[in-house]
Amino acid sequence: MTGGRRVALMALKNAPAIAFAVVLVVFALLSDRFLTVANFTNIVTQASHVAIMAIGMTFVLLTAGIDLSVGAVMYVCVAVLALLFGDLPVLVAFPLVALLGLALGAVNGFFVVQLRGLHPFIITLATLFILRGIALWMTDTRMVFVAEPIMSLGRTSYLGVPWAIWMFAGVFLSAWIVLRQTPFGRQIYAVGQDPAAAAKAGIDVPRVLFAVYCICGLCAALGGLVSIAQVAAASSTFGFQKEFPVIAAAVLGGTSLFGGRGGVVGTIFGAILIQTVENGLVMTNANPYLYPLVTSAIIFFAVLVDSQRSRILDAMNRRKIRVE
C-alpha cells in the first residue's frame, strides 16, 4: 500500500470526525459566538432527544432492520404522560412511560419475529399509522400540556450540566456497555452480519430481533420524555416524521443500513453534528430556507464517503485474493 493511499484510507475511516471538525472550523470562522461552552451545552441539550432515539435505532439497524414508528411511539408516550399520568409524581410517571415505550417496541418486535421474511420497514410503517392514530384519538388532535414538575425538570441541572444531557449520557453509556461488553451485544452484530450463520452458531435469532425492537421502543419513549420536558407542550404534529432525522443521525455516524456494522459512538456524533450545523446556521444568520438544504447535503456527503470507503475496502480485499 502506498503512503498516499494509506492517508486516503485514514481519511475515509474517520470521515464523520473529519466532517465534524470541518463544520466546527467553518462556523467558528463565521461567528465568534459559536465556539463557546455555553453554546455547546446548548447544542448537546437540543440534540439529546434525537440522539437518545438514534441510539435505539442503532440497535435495530445493526440487525439490518429499521423502525419507522419511533416518532409515533414518542407521541403516544407523551400523550399518555400528559393525559393519564398528569397527577403522578415524576419518579413514578417516568418509569411507567418508559415501560409503555418498551411494550410498544415489543409489539413491533413480536410482528417482526412472527412475520419473518417480511421487511420490518412495512411492519413498522403499519404501527406508525396505528400508534399515531391512537395518539390523535387520545389527544383529540389538540395540544397537550405536561404538569409543572416535568416542565421544571427541563430547566434543572446537576453539577452545572442540564438534566437532558445526564439522561443522554446515561442512555449512551448503557447502550455502549450492552453492545461492546456483553454477549448479547456480540449476538446483535452476528445476527446483522448473517442471520443464517448466527442461527447455526446457536444464537436465538428471534430473541435478539425481539429485544432490539424493545430497546428501540424504550429509547423512543425516553427521547419523548426529554423532548417534552424541554418544550412543555405537544401539538398533533409532535414526533411527526421524527424517524427521518433519527435514522439520518445513526447513518451519519457510520451505522450501515445493511446490518452488522456501526455503533453508538458514531450515532451520537451524527446526532450532535446535525444539531451543530443547525445551530451554526442560526448563529451565522443564514437564510432559514437553507437549513434543510445544508443539513441534507451534509448527510449526503457523509453517506457518499461511507459507501466509497466500503467499495475501496472491498476492492483491496479482492486484490489480496488474486495475489494469493
Partner: protein, 345 residues
C-alpha cells in the same frame, strides 16, 4: 429438499392446514380486488352515498394522480430499491413548472409555448431527479433508501426556497386555463386525467411484461449477482427504473397542480407513506423481483375506497390513520401467510 421444508415448517407451526378455498383465496394474486369489493359491499348499506355518481367521480380524481406515482414506485421496488423522494419531486416539479407558466411574472407568461414548455419542465425536473437518484445508487453504490431520503429532505427545501424567490405568497397561482384543464377537466363525464393515467398504466404494463427491459428489472430484483453474471446491464436498468419513477411523479404532479390550479411546495407532503403502502398492499414485494401494474392499481383502489368510506362515515383523522395502519399490517400478514403456504408446497 421438499421433505425437509415440510418437516421444518411442521415442527415450527403445528397447526391444522387451511381450508382449500381459503388457501386458494390467500394465494390469489388479485386478493386485494376481492377485498376491495367485499369492503365496498359491506359499506354500501351503511353509507349509500358512496355509490353515488359524485362520490365515484371524487374517488376517481383522488385515485388517478396517486396511481401514476405508485406505478413509478412499482418499477423501483421491483429492482429491490425504494424511492422516498417522489413526494418532493411532486412538490418541486409543481413550483418550477408553475413558475414557467404563471400569468403573474412567469418566464413564458402569455406565450403560446407556455403550456407545452411548462409540461416539459415538469417532466424534466422529474427525470433529472430520478436520474440523479439512480446515478447515486449505481455508479456511487449508495443505498437507495438513504439517497432518496436525503432527496426527500433536500428537494422539499429547494421547493420552498424556490417559491419564496417567485412569489410573496406561499404558492404560485395564475396558471393558464389550458394547463389546469388536464388535471380537473372532463369530456362527456370522463376526466382527462383518466386518459393520462390509462396511458401511463398501459405503457408501464407493456414495458414490464413485454420488453427485455422489463425482464432485466425482474432478474435484478430476484438475484442481482446472477443477473450481472448473465450479462444484464444492471446499472443501466436500475438507473432507468429511477428515471421512470421520477417522471411518473412529475406526471402525477401535473395532475395535482392542475386540480389545485396552483403550484405549491407542500404538495404531496403527506402521501409518501400512502404511495408505498398502496404498492405493497397490491402485492409488490419490498425485497424485489415481484410486482405488477395491475396489483398496484388494486392497492391504490383499496386505499382510496377505504379513505372515502371513512370520510363519508364522518370518521375523524385518528380513525383514518389507525385503519390505514391496520390495513398495511393485514397486507403484511397475508403476504407472510402466502410465503408459508408456498414453502409448505
Amino acid at each position: 429438499m421438499a421433505d425437509r421444508a415440510v418437516s421444518e415448517s411442521g415442527r415450527a407451526r403445528p397447526r391444522a392446514a387451511m381450508a382449500p378455498w381459503l388457501e386458494r383465496l390467500v394465494l390469489s394474486e388479485y386478493l386485494v380486488f376481492y377485498l376491495t369489493a367485499v369492503y365496498f359491499l359491506i359499506v354500501w348499506p351503511i353509507v349509500p352515498q358512496i355509490a353515488s355518481l359524485s362520490s365515484l367521480y371524487n374517488m376517481a380524481t383522488d385515485l388517478l394522480p396517486l396511481l401514476v406515482v405508485a406505478i413509478g414506485q412499482t418499477f423501483v421496488l421491483i429492482v429491490a430499491g425504494i424511492d422516498l423522494s417522489v413526494t418532493s419531486i411532486i412538490a418541486l416539479a409543481s413550483v418550477v413548472g408553475a413558475s414557467v407558466m404563471t400569468a403573474d411574472g412567469g418566464y413564458l407568461a402569455g406565450s403560446p409555448f407556455a403550456v407545452p414548455a411548462g409540461i416539459v419542465t415538469f417532466l424534466a425536473v422529474g427525470g433529472l431527479v430520478g436520474w440523479f437518484n439512480g446515478w447515486c445508487c449505481t455508479r456511487l453504490g449508495m443505498p437507495p433508501i438513504i439517497v432518496t431520503l436525503v432527496g426527500l429532505m433536500f428537494l422539499s427545501g429547494v421547493a420552498i426556497w424556490y417559491t419564496t424567490g417567485h412569489t410573496e405568497t406561499s404558492s404560485i397561482a395564475g396558471l393558464p386555463r389550458s394547463f389546469v384543464v388536464i388535471g380537473q377537466g372532463r369530456a362527456h363525464g370522463v376526466p382527462h386525467a383518466l386518459w393520462v393515467a390509462l396511458a401511463v398504466g398501459i405503457a408501464a404494463h407493456l414495458l414490464l411484461r413485454h420488453t427485455v427491459f422489463g425482464r432485466w428489472l425482474f432478474a435484478i430484483g430476484i438475484n442481482r449477482k446472477a443477473a450481472e453474471v448473465s450479462g444484464v446491464p444492471v446499472d443501466k436498468a436500475i438507473l432507468w427504473a429511477f428515471v421512470i419513477s421520477g417522471v411518473c411523479a412529475a406526471i402525477s404532479s401535473i395532475l395535482y397542480t392542475g386540480r389545485l390550479e396552483t403550484g405549491t411546495p407542500v404538495m404531496g407532503e403527506r402521501i409518501l407513506l400512502d404511495i408505498i403502502a398502496a404498492v405493497v398492499i397490491g402485492g409488490t414485494s419490498l425485497s424485489g423481483g415481484k410486482g405488477k401494474i395491475v396489483w398496484t392499481l388494486g392497492g391504490v383502489l383499496f386505499l382510496v375506497v377505504i379513505d372515502t368510506s371513512l370520510k363519508l362515515l364522518g370518521m375523524s383523522l385518528f380513525v383514518v390513520f389507525a385503519v390505514k395502519g391496520a390495513v398495511i399490517l393485514f397486507a403484511a400478514i397475508i403476504d407472510a401467510m402466502r410465503q408459508r403456504i408456498v414453502q409448505r408446497g
